[in-house]
């Protein structure tokens, strides 16, 4: 994958598939160090699953026998001198409070790092496909911060108008375009 924003999309999809209702995504990209963090309240992973997370031949899916999402991210992090850490509490072991936190670090000035790419496109794609999930996106750069909270948007729109409706998506797209323009 040639854009970092695609890694973000791919990794956050794991939280979606874990059945999370709340997913916080943060990108702290200041002073040459990029920290990408995802926190969700999904079904989590057992210790055994967690151990095998960076094994490409381990996956829980049924349609194919390989899982490359986390291995790809780990490879990119490590080739820039960073790393990936994942902690998780499985719903099977803690029904009250469960979920996963992933923290990946990258040296964004490293020659082997890749361009950020269309991060707005990633946020919009996540909302479009999962309008019921409460995403919070925070992107901090040397130029300022972009922030979007789906829970806040929902409280304005009320019930019955999904975030995935074309009119709302157009507003979100416009909002993000302007917010990123300001911190350029």
């Amino acid at each position: 994958m040639e854009e970092f924003s695609l890694y973000v999309l791919d990794i956050v999809m794991n939280s979606v598939r874990a059945g999370a209702e709340n997913i916080d995504v943060s990108l702290d990209d200041r002073g040459g160090l990029l920290t990408f963090k995802v926190t969700d309240d999904g079904c989590g992973m057992t210790e055994e699953q967690l151990e095998r997370l960076s094994d490409p031949f381990f996956t829980t899916r049924k349609t194919r026998g390989v899982g490359l999402g986390v291995p790809f991210l780990k490879m990119l992090a490590e080739q820039t001198g960073g790393d990936v850490k994942v902690s998780s509490v499985a719903a099977s072991e803690s029904p009250e409070s469960h979920g996963t936190t992933l923290v990946a670090t990258f040296h964004s000035n490293h020659i082997d790092f890749i361009p950020m790419g269309d991060i707005k496109g990633t946020f919009v794609t996540l909302i479009q496909g999962n309008p019921d999930v409460n995403f919070t996106f925070v992107h901090e750069t040397d130029g300022g911060e972009v922030r979007l909270s789906c829970a806040e948007l929902k409280s304005v729109l009320g019930d019955g108008i999904p975030l995935s409706s074309p009119e709302v998506l157009a507003w979100i797209r416009g909002y993000l375009a302007e917010a990123y323009e300001e911190i350029k």
Partner: protein, 124 residues
């Protein structure tokens, strides 16, 4: 700056439409594979081309664009499946944003699937 007032105006406008949409139902479903295989092959611009194109073409009332995980034919990603009431499923493979626009025009609007983009043509 895009304002909350604008969002509230959208809400007002849509509340009238919602009841209409519910009774019409979604006749056509466009499903884009968005697992690692799809994303790496370029599914995000394909999905966004469908989301924006369907809305621009005024088809939002009868066409729903959704995402799914791995369909199991990774070598053909980006894969797009089109489900239409009382018709056979059409599977488009190796899609891109340009082809997506054509599919909106010829298939979703015109009613004629583009056979050369389907999996049947790709596996020949």
């Amino acid at each position: 700056m895009k304002s909350i007032e604008e969002l509230m105006a959208i809400k007002e406008k849509m509340q009238n439409k919602v009841s209409l949409r519910n009774s019409a139902g979604d006749d056509v479903r466009v499903v884009v594979g968005m697992a690692t295989c799809g994303i790496a092959a370029g599914a995000r611009p394909v999905l966004n081309a469908f989301v924006e194109g369907v809305s621009e073409a005024g088809l939002s009332d009868r066409v729903m664009v959704t995402q799914t995980g791995c369909i199991g034919i990774c070598q053909y990603e980006p894969v797009v499946e089109i489900y239409e009431k009382d018709k056979e499923k059409v599977t488009y493979v190796k899609m891109n944003a340009e082809k997506a626009k054509e599919v909106i025009e010829r298939h979703l609007k015109g009613g004629e699937p583009i056979s050369e983009y389907t999996i049947g043509a790709a596996t020949k």
